[in-house]
């Protein structure tokens, strides 16, 4: 369950940063990404997958959230 710092980059894409692992990746897709619901599975550009408990609003980026690691992509 790593803490992940999420922010939007200049192109409006989600940037994923895990301080403990020095992992800095752009998210390719977010399962639920609408004003009413946000979260679910997030696929990163290096192929790894993380899961966020869906919430009922867009988080106010940048923000730190807990994620579950699903697939390391290796």
């Amino acid at each position: 369950m790593p803490s992940v710092m999420l922010k939007k980059n200049a192109e409006g894409k989600l940037v994923f940063y895990v301080p403990k692992k020095d992992l800095e990746e752009v998210a390719e897709s977010v399962e639920f990404d609408s004003p009413e619901k946000w979260g679910g599975e997030v696929l990163l550009s290096d192929g790894s997958k993380y899961y966020f408990e869906p919430i009922n609003a867009q988080p106010d980026f940048p923000v730190t959230l807990r994620a579950k690691r699903l697939d390391s992509g290796e």
Partner: protein, 493 residues
């Protein structure tokens, strides 16, 4: 000597690794790589931020060095107590040349060493009482100090002193910030964790001090310079450029910085990060908590300076963008003259670097502006994200080494035969005795500043002065030079 091809570089790494026992070889192999610009991510080719192998000569420092020496030390109006035995503070005192303005011992304390000088009895009975007394003494002897930080040395963590409690009590008694920093040297694998711990201490004990206090008048052009330690005056050379383009520099972290500046930083509009490795933590925290965006910039060499000034200006309005162009145009004649003077003398020379924090990638642009080529680079304590940023800066098939050992570095140098090496003081005399020009790139070899346009002129002069120094022709004994062997051969024939 011509540049090595990819195969030759790989063979060189294998050759160097051969002397290690199997286990060590396997581990060290992960830290040495041939640069491949096509890679997006460094973790495909190099491993970093791992514990050094026992038995090798590493060049790394400790967490205390990262906190006291790098992040906290330069904050000039605070007193930083090296809490523990006297050596850690005394042997690192004033070595980093973080310049500052002020009267030392009266209102600034940068080059002084304050220590609790632990004795056996303090280890046995605990040092908390001594620490409390020291702080009252400091308040009496140096009433103009603006705060105290307690920089833990190894024994503090080992004997379990409660410095946080002492700090809180002292804070009430003297009415100034007292910051306990848990940066015992044994934490982590290098000074890098010390930077992180120091950043976290600033976050927890300093940054919130002025939350809710709106008395500080702000402007839309407020910025903070973060991760510039004013080595030889670097931060000043950077600051003038930013101010000339119309920005207002509210805080310098932490070279020539004060605690008041740090407390005001949450009010700025943009954080400018120079040393990403040591201060990205606090920038990310401010981004999340105060919604202050941050960008990295690079003030080494005119190409990178112009690039950075434009990148910074793009985040502001037209007046600042015009200001950036004005600054670049203003200094153009100056840096063109520097290049015209030194490039012919330095063209085509090859450089190997091995430094810390930001320089292994940031100075590459400055060398390229002088027509030089960086053929090998590496970080003492970099992480993956540093190497991600380095891959694109370096040429293809160049060497990259992480936490290089004394042996590996020497062997690489023998094979690559660079014209100049930039590294630290511990490496300096080894390579000079090998007859290779050397610059100490941690504190600019007692020179500087190297940042900004003013710094570039000094950088170019220093590189020329070192590389083209006539002394290098005298390194070989007369009977072993090419000419004398020719004469000897002729005489024997």
């Amino acid at each position: 000597m011509a540049a090595l091809t990819r195969e030759e570089t790989e063979a060189l790494i294998q050759e160097v690794l051969e002397v290690y026992p199997e286990q060590a070889r396997k581990d060290r192999a992960k830290h040495l790589a041939v640069n491949d610009q096509s890679l997006e991510k460094s973790n495909k080719c190099i491993t970093s931020n791992r514990k050094s192998q026992p038995g090798v000569m590493t060049i790394r420092g400790c967490a205390y060095a990262g906190s006291k020496g790098v992040v906290w030390g330069p904050i000039k109006d605070m007193i930083h107590i090296s809490h523990g035995p006297v050596g850690c503070g005394q042997y690192s005192r004033a070595g980093r040349r973080n310049y500052y303005v002020g009267t030392t011992g009266v209102n600034t304390f940068g080059t002084m060493n304050f220590t609790s000088d632990f004795q056996e009895k303090d280890i046995v009975f605990g040092g908390d009482k001594k620490l409390a007394k020291i702080m009252l003494e400091i308040e009496e002897l140096f009433p103009l100090h603006k705060g105290i930080s307690i920089q833990s040395e190894c024994p503090i963590g080992l004997i379990g002193d409660d410095i946080e409690a002492v700090a809180k009590k002292a804070n009430k008694e003297i009415g100034k910030p007292v910051v306990p920093v848990r940066c015992e040297g044994f934490r982590g694998v290098s000074q890098s964790l010390g930077h992180h711990i120091a950043n976290d201490a600033i976050r927890d004990w300093v940054l919130e001090n002025r939350d809710g206090d709106e008395s500080f008048p702000t402007t839309p052009y407020d910025v903070a310079v973060i991760g510039d330690y004013n080595i030889g005056g670097d931060a000043w050379a950077s600051r003038t450029l930013l101010e000339e383009m119309g920005l207002r520099v509210v805080a310098q972290w932490s070279g020539d910085g004060t605690i008041a500046e740090m407390e005001k930083t949450p009010k700025v509009k943009l954080n400018l990060i120079h040393c990403y490795r040591s201060m990205n933590y606090i920038a990310r925290h401010m981004e999340e908590k105060y919604k202050i965006p941050w960008i990295e910039y690079n003030f080494f060499g005119p190409t990178k300076i112009a690039e950075s000034l434009r990148k910074i200006a793009a985040l502001f309005d037209e007046t600042i963008q015009a200001g950036a162009e004005r600054v670049i145009a203003k200094y153009q004649a100056e840096y063109d003259a520097v290049i015209a003077k030194y490039k012919p003398r330095l063209q085509g020379k090859r450089v190997m670097l091995y430094v810390g924090g930001l320089r292994p990638r940031h100075v590459i642009g400055a060398y390229e502006d002088l027509g030089m080529e960086v053929v090998g680079t590496g970080y003492e304590f970099g992480h993956n994200d540093d190497y991600d940023r380095t891959i694109k800066e370096m040429g293809n098939a160049t060497l990259i080494y992480d936490d290089v050992t004394g042996y590996e570095f020497e062997e690489f140098v023998k094979k690559v035969q660079p014209d100049l090496i930039g590294s630290g003081i511990k490496e300096k005399y080894i390579f000079q005795k090998m007859g290779i020009p050397f610059r100490q790139m941690h504190s600019w070899d007692y020179s500087g500043p190297y940042h900004g346009y003013d710094g570039f002129a000094i950088f170019a002069r220093d590189m020329d002065m070192t590389l083209n120094n006539p002394c290098w022709k005298q390194v070989k004994v007369p009977w072993k030079t090419d000419e004398s062997t020719k004469v000897a051969v002729a005489a024997s024939a």
